[in-house]
Subunit: 335 residues, 2 copies
DNA sequence: TTGTACGCGTTATCAG
DNA sequence: CTGATAACGCGTACAA
């Protein structure tokens, strides 16, 4: 007994599909008895409307596509939750896809989303994406686009971002205030704007306080634990190692933590450490990790709101908005 | 310039839709020049086939629906990654949904998946789900179903599970071998089979070693950090506190860690601690957390393989398989 | 080499 | 109160 259509139901009841459709929708005047029979049979056969047929007809899917680099990252899963909470409330479904930071996959996902005729798309760019045609195409297709966190200026669409410069500045400022002098930074990939901005903010804080940033104290890494651990190890083994590290993310800070432990360095006595993103394990680490927090859930909510607004009241040539969230210093014991 | 169809292209080129379709598919003999013109125009207009139309026509969507309780849980996100890796390789899309452990949401998701005519469904049951009609319905609709991790016997479908009894047994056995006597267990919600099985395995290990399990050493909690922290605090404040705790999951173990630190208990000296699931932060905790590992990525892969097998070669009344993974003890320093 | 026509499931319109 | 039919986008069998 495979999936049934209203046509099947109509046939079995010897009535027309139009009547079945009306009965199912409680529309117009359908003879109560007919309605009852239809509804009962539909129930019995587990009838569910075919959303492809409806999508074809109405050109609306009440679905939004969501693309993140990876799900296994608390920052993104919190954003997803914020976004879903708003979307569901407004009767929209969310289709979640992972680009895994692979450009080709990102392109393919966008193609599929267009094919699926989603009503709008929210994306956080993959770190390797350098060509943006697949995204700028969306404007021509009248598909609303909102970028969050990992955005790029040459893409037409709304932007929901953190003030990463400010976050970097706050991190540097706090480390200096706590009396450190040999400040180091483990940056993210240079291709990511957020990496560059956090670095710039950090540098600005040092400049403002007239603290020198030694070239060998500025290194970069990927977000893989192995890499950040190795990078931290190298950094801490310098003849004159830093006395404070600002890690581009909490994930990277975990690598530093491991390296420090291996070298028998006490945090915060021998080394101050500050991360970025406020993972939920942060407070449970030893020592609890000082970090910069990002309002991820709210970012997801705002992303959804702006996207849905654009979907529900489409404007021919909309003006992309930019919404900036201020990160927050969360003081714990690692500094 | 909204989305175009082959009909639009046909009109603009003064040819029939059939020719356009053929040109796009590199089918039969289409005059090279016609083909070129079609492809160029399609490219220019960013034509993408409407998957609703194709789904309607072919009754295949090459999409599988995936339902997890929550994404913000490393165990599940690893399963997702395993499942996706296999699905993509075989040309299938994955639609990911979160039930948030809310029964009504789970039902609604299943309805939507049926409406979307996905080719198959993989699900990990929500912890509050007690009525399984929405899932047993899938059998009648000929939609293949695979359950993973959180399964239930009264649902018809394949099952991919961990041997949770064995995991609990290994945890208890190891704690005893390490010389502990006052063993406690912080269990998960009793509604979850995995909670009951881990507990049973744990009890069996104690029984086999003739170690008593004091009633006050057996408590349960939800998976929320707050709750497990509070529960652990209560446990450790007993007049005679346990000297070893087996936590139903690493998340819960994090709560224990926090409670122990608050009470100035040294792990493993004053208290041995073992978790379950092998979170990636485990090795970075202080002390590195001993745990039971679950092969989550492989579970996702196997889930996908079994599901796709059923999709590609459907059998009228298939015999549900059960695939059991043996958990593994991961020894670190918390015991 | 190309065109016509059908049908997939649904809703809306128009006609009874 | 109910039925017939067109339309959405596509692939394909059949016809030319």
């Amino acid at each position: 007994m495979p999936q049934v259509s209203i046509k099947d139901i109509a046939r079995m009841l010897n009535i027309s599909v139009a009547t079945v459709s009306r009965a199912l929708h409680d529309r117009y005047d359908v003879k109560p008895e007919t309605k009852r029979k239809v509804i009962e049979l539909a129930e019995k056969l587990n009838y569910r409307p075919n959303s492809h047929a409806i999508g074809l007809l109405t050109k609306r899917t009440h679905t939004i596509g969501l693309v993140v680099p990876e799900i296994d990252n608390q920052f993104f899963s919190e954003i997803i939750n914020g976004l879903e909470s708003v979307a569901y409330q407004q009767g929209y479904n969310v289709m979640i896809f992972q680009s895994q930071n692979i450009y080709e996959r990102e392109v393919k996902i966008i193609d599929q989303l267009i094919s699926a005729r989603v009503d709008g798309i929210a994306i956080s760019l993959g770190s390797t994406t350098q060509d943006f045609r697949h995204l700028n195409m969306l404007k021509e297709l009248d598909i609303p686009l909102v970028m969050f966190d990992r955005v790029h200026d040459s893409v037409f669409g709304h932007k929901i971002i953190n003030d990463n410069f400010d976050g970097g500045y706050k991190a540097g400022e706090f480390l200096i205030k706590s009396g450190r002098q040999r400040l180091a930074h483990i940056a993210g990939p240079d291709t990511l704007k957020l990496s560059r901005l956090r670095l710039q903010g950090f540098k600005a804080a040092l400049r403002d306080a007239q603290v020198e940033l030694k070239p060998e104290y500025l290194v970069d890494t990927t977000f893989r634990l192995e890499d950040s651990y190795q990078t931290a190890l190298d950094l801490l083994r310098l003849p004159e190692p830093p006395d404070a590290i600002f890690a581009v993310s909490d994930y990277v800070a975990l690598g530093v933590l491991k390296a420090a432990r291996e070298l028998n360095l006490q945090i915060p006595r021998d080394l101050a450490l500050i991360g970025f993103s406020n993972l939920s394990v942060g407070p449970l680490l030893e020592p609890p990790l000082t970090t910069i927090s990002q309002h991820s859930f709210e970012m997801g909510q705002v992303t959804a709101r702006i996207l849905l607004e654009n979907i529900e009241s489409p404007v021919k040539d909309y003006k992309p908005q930019t919404r900036i969230f201020k990160p927050e210093l969360v003081v714990r014991n690692s500094v």
